[in-house]
Symmetry: C2
Subunit: 214 residues, 2 copies
Amino acid sequence: MSNPKTILEAFTWRYATQKFDTSKKLSDEQLNTLLEVIRLSPSSFGLQPWKFIVVRNPELRVKLRGAGYDQSKITDASHLIIFAVKKNLDDKTVDTYIQSVAQVRGVAFETLKGYGDMIKQFLSSMSQEAKMEWAARQAYIALGVLITAGAVEGIDVGPMEGFDPKKFDEILGLEQMGLETKVIVAVGFRSDDDFPASLTKVRFPKEEVIIEMN
Amino acid sequence: MSNPKTILEAFTWRYATQKFDTSKKLSDEQLNTLLEVIRLSPSSFGLQPWKFIVVRNPELRVKLRGAGYDQSKITDASHLIIFAVKKNLDDKTVDTYIQSVAQVRGVAFETLKGYGDMIKQFLSSMSQEAKMEWAARQAYIALGVLITAGAVEGIDVGPMEGFDPKKFDEILGLEQMGLETKVIVAVGFRSDDDFPASLTKVRFPKEEVIIEMN
């Protein structure tokens, strides 16, 4: 197994890992690469309506497994990453973001007012539920990024939608941080006897999935 | 510019491209790599509730630009890819998928009945609106995959949420195909004078985005 892989090698190698090798842990460098890549993930307007919670703590993970249909990857993978979104997406969120843009780019806050106003208008046009869905979609961009980065780096990734998000928020204390869990991901290394690894990947053929209008 | 890049090089190099070089087109190999990678994108249950419409046709793209806030990347990028989801996610969708699993893996349809029933139960528990949101999230995984693959391969990607999805469906005839546009992506190569390319990327610092529970 040589790293990094080309993108197509990576996507042939990867699969939704179910059973992780409990003895294999990500190196600090591997973990940092994954975290840096999700931190750099793009989002609509650049707003980054998310936080990523990285759980290594074994006791916490046992509790989370209880809220995640007892899936072994929750406890057995090297790390568990929770993709959470910010519940309060309001004018203040936008101002904080615009301030960070102004600071990083060395421009006056006022010069970005029009951009900020556009984002504020976009957000205020949505119900809270619609905002959370929009934020969840952004988190799923980061999920796609993490899946791809893991594949390229030879790190196994097991994304999960099957869990109780409210219980996750409770166990992790996310409610008080103004966050909501949207999707979770186990990262680490496949067990030698993970059955799905041996199965042929099932995807619809190109002619059924891709429509070309030339 | 050497390809492929490491994942962190790729994420430093990429940005949401606004202005594409109209003279630069993806090679067949580059386009095929991107399409193959999105075809191989993972989705919940492996259901692939999507189709990807690749538009090169210039007249169509002028029309789409009219439904996309006149963003130049819609017409000027090498290709435009529409990420659409299937409107009918029902028992028949699941049976078609399970049949493809049975065929690819050489097992009897009946042995997969339990898995199919679980997916059917999941889908039937949701309203049509919730199903479309769930499907959109899956499409956003593929979006994250495409963004990452483009970055690694040195291909510029400009994702867009700002467009009229109903008009896109009309112009492309997606309604009749049972599809709904969720997000669109211009792919190609940045123009030398694309102003945002020169700006420092703005992301919240690690300590604000990543929470570690060790």
